[in-house]
């Protein structure tokens, strides 16, 4: 008896649910929960990490990332404008920069900035500057390309309208193009911010003092003095504390600024 196409699809879907249920039950019965709890959820180890993991590590991760994103955003905007410049050498420089820093591992940049550059030029960077610069230099290569795409996605008519009202090229860019470009690139920009937050863990190659630990460094450091993997789990959860709300915020802003249901962002009393 042949089944109809729809009937077959329903049966196939139910079979998948059944398979998943079996897998969950297998894991639940076969896993050694006591061992797992000891390895990943050791309460004593976790307790020892507080409040440092929040007051130092989480805060430092946020600070390093914020510096990095600020520099990355500024440099990225500059790169985007260079790539769109009618002056060819600007475009070449931006292309070379982007290709280079997108192509080399971020770790190399961290090492270069923390060891090689201070050595070569006799500079001494604050840890915030090292982290911010390294993250910003690498991040701007990605962010620059994203902003360029966003600028090019702004409809030409918007620019013509601005110019026909007497706005100069620069004024049009500031008032119309860039604000609209950022609305367009909000989702990919959020992705880049999240990548950048995770890359902030690379600063641990620099050799940090205890007060400069960020999440990954603190996690690894605690791990070396602990029999369980709990520190890594705690560090991982702390990253999620930052990144999950960012995703939510991005989706919220997207709803606010894009699509049909727009609300007035700047209401002037009438």
């Amino acid at each position: 008896m042949a089944m109809s196409k729809r009937r077959r699809a329903i049966v196939f879907r139910r079979a998948q649910y059944a398979l998943l249920l079996v897998l969950v039950l297998l894991i639940a019965f076969l896993a050694d929960w006591g061992e797992i709890k000891k390895s990943f959820f050791d309460v004593d180890t976790a307790a020892k990490m507080f409040p440092n993991v929040i007051t130092t590590a989480l805060v430092n991760t946020i600070v390093y990332s914020a510096f990095g994103f600020a520099i990355g955003l500024g440099l990225g905007l500059l790169l985007a404008l260079m790539k769109l410049s009618p002056v060819a050498p600007w475009r070449w420089i931006a292309t070379i920069y982007i290709e280079f820093f997108r192509g080399v591992p971020a770790l190399l940049v961290f090492v270069a900035l923390s060891v090689a550059v201070p050595l070569a030029f006799g500079l001494k960077f604050e840890i915030n500057s090292t982290a911010g610069l390294a993250l910003g230099i690498v991040g701007s290569a990605y962010i620059g390309e994203t902003i360029r795409a966003g600028i090019q996605a702004v409809p030409k008519g918007q620019i013509e309208a601005a110019r026909s009202l007497g706005m100069s090229h620069g004024r049009t860019l500031l008032t119309v193009v860039i604000p609209q470009a950022f609305r367009i690139i909000l989702p990919p920009l959020t992705n880049e911010l999240i990548m950048l937050i995770k890359d902030s863990s690379l600063i641990s190659v620099v050799g940090l003092t205890a007060a400069e630990y960020e999440l990954t460094k603190l996690g690894r450091e605690t791990l070396s003095r602990s029999p369980s993997l709990t520190p890594l789990l705690i560090a991982g959860l702390c990253y999620l504390i930052i990144t999950l709300p960012l995703g939510q915020l991005s989706r919220y802003l997207e709803r606010q600024t894009g699509g049909k249901k727009l609300s007035a962002p700047e209401t002037t009393g009438v």
Partner: protein, 264 residues
């Protein structure tokens, strides 16, 4: 090209727009092949013609959104094709309305109308807002002050765009097929606003397919085809009694036969 250059400081030159020997090429494609057009102050001039005839390009050359390949464009006695002229300042005196409305999508209606007043004309926020509200009332959109463009119908967006251009207090208005992107039932509102503007004495250069509007409102009509102005004259004559064969065949295709007579 033999006309005298009008003095730049003339307060009220008789001709609002004066185009002589205008050509425009995109690459090897010559879109305008030598256009001479003038618009008297207070006149409404409609430009009609088949698509690809160059009428939109002509209009876009008037405020130099398209850079002319050759020729001279004088608006309000100021030669815009002179490389030394401040084109941004000149554009504040030339309002432009686009087929696709082009309201700034990230600003609400009021800010659409005030942003250039504040930034370019350096008007105070209060003055800019007052001007904006006055012009919104003029186009019948007083209740949409805080709406975002995406919340408006096409007809409302176009009227807001007209109000935005008017808020700069231009002396000439350019309309580039302002009703072509609208649903048929919304066309009337926009044409009504334009008619009212014409009645108030605004100098207007209008590229349009609305023959009824051209016949009723325009002082003069230009028929363009293949990059040339083929025929021009009073609206009743060009639309009602075209002399040139190409004008006749264009109008026959465009006009509803039942409305073709000059007497209706």
């Amino acid at each position: 090209m033999s006309e005298e250059v009008p003095p730049v400081d003339a307060a009220e030159p008789d001709l609002a727009v004066e185009i002589t020997g205008l050509t425009k090429s995109f690459g090897s494609l010559e879109v305008l092949k030598g256009i001479d057009v003038s618009v008297r102050r207070g006149d409404v001039v409609c430009v009609i013609g088949p698509s690809g005839s160059g009428k939109s390009t002509l209009l876009r050359c008037v405020n130099l959104l398209e850079e002319p390949t050759a020729g001279r464009i004088v608006v309000n006695g100021e030669e815009l094709t002179d490389p030394d002229v401040d084109i941004d300042a000149a554009r504040t005196r030339i309002g432009m309305v686009f087929q696709g409305f082009n309201l700034f999508s990230h600003l609400n209606v009021l800010n659409n109308l005030t942003v250039a007043q504040r930034q370019v004309l350096r008007r105070s926020p209060e003055q800019a807002q007052e001007t904006a509200l006055r012009n919104l009332e003029r186009v019948g959109l007083s209740d949409k002050v805080n709406a975002m463009p995406a919340q408006l119908s096409g007809g409302q967006q176009q009227r807001a765009a007209i109000a935005r251009a008017l808020s700069m207090d231009p002396s000439v208005m350019l309309f580039d097929e302002p009703t072509s992107a609208l649903d048929p039932e919304l066309v009337g509102d926009v044409l009504g606003v334009m008619r009212q503007l014409a009645d108030e004495g605004m100098t207007m250069l209008v590229v349009t397919h609305e023959m009824q509007f051209a016949r009723e409102v325009a002082d003069r009509v230009l028929f363009m085809d293949g990059g040339y102005v083929v025929e021009e004259g009073p609206a009743a004559q060009v639309i009602g009694d075209p002399q040139h064969a190409r004008t006749q065949s264009f109008l026959a295709r465009v006009l509803d036969p039942t409305h073709q007579g000059p007497g209706d």
